[in-house]
């Protein structure tokens, strides 16, 4: 994916000429521009796509995600997983299976699959299996109320009524943010403590208000 000097440049470059506004490529570019251009150290960004299930209930499901991790920000340290050896084996097994789904069952398993799977990588991967119905969960609340949800602090995450927030805390997050946008919700997570900023809200507005 391309890199952009500013979120506005990304939005301009990502502006498609037809009406396929929410295609995967532009989503990825917007998510990348959002967190790589940020002053704060975000670990990942996810776009939860709004749709309706067979019964007409509103559902937020996986749209796309961009994982940057903790080590890419030049802090000279690696976040090691707090998980047990058995848990690591389980994660690697799942990663191998996912890799074979993408690359084919006869593909050679490479080192990238067998390396340790960090807690935040695992949280990001597990997120792909999740959805939020009728205003449930942190992303659902943000969409339902039409206002951002910003949870900063390990303790606040750990005592949140939302399971996703508690799960994030278990996997090392300190900040979880959900911002409603056109057709969905933008979620950002970080292992660092980040307090609410209007700068981020504005970036989301520029990059994700598709109209």
């Amino acid at each position: 994916s391309a890199s952009f000097s500013t979120p506005a440049a990304a939005a301009a470059a990502a502006q498609p000429s037809d009406k396929t506004m929410l295609n995967q490529e532009t989503l990825q570019q917007r998510l990348q521009a959002l967190i790589e251009g940020a002053r704060e150290s975000w670990t990942y960004a996810i776009f939860w796509q709004s749709s309706y299930d067979y019964s007409g209930a509103s559902v937020l499901g996986w749209g796309d995600g961009y994982y940057i991790g903790e080590e890419d920000k030049g802090k000279g340290r690696m976040k090691n997983s707090a998980s047990s050896a058995a848990e690591q084996e389980h994660r690697k097994k799942v990663l191998r299976e996912l890799n074979s789904l993408i690359a084919g069952p006869s593909s050679v398993t490479d080192d990238a699959v067998d390396e340790e799977v960090t807690d935040t990588e695992w949280f990001f991967l597990v997120s792909m299996t999740q959805s939020f119905v009728n205003g449930s969960g942190l992303p659902g609340q943000a969409l339902f109320n039409g206002s951002p949800v910003w949870v900063a602090g390990s303790e606040r995450l750990g005592t949140s009524p939302c399971e996703r927030a508690r799960q994030g805390q278990v996997f090392g997050l300190q900040t979880l943010v959900c911002i409603p946008s056109a057709n969905g919700v933008v979620e950002l997570g970080s292992t660092e403590l980040i307090f609410q900023s209007s700068d981020l809200m504005n970036k989301v507005k520029v990059l994700f208000n598709f109209n």
Partner: protein
């Protein structure tokens, strides 16, 4: 073999690409 929805397939492909990049960049040995 299970089928992945297209959005998740694309996201996973990029996740693996980025993971390889991260692991190469932190390796002390040239590849």
């Amino acid at each position: 073999q299970a089928e992945l929805p297209i959005a998740r397939r694309h996201s996973l492909q990029r996740f693996f690409e980025k993971r390889r990049d991260r692991l190469v960049s932190k390796s002390p040995y040239p590849t």
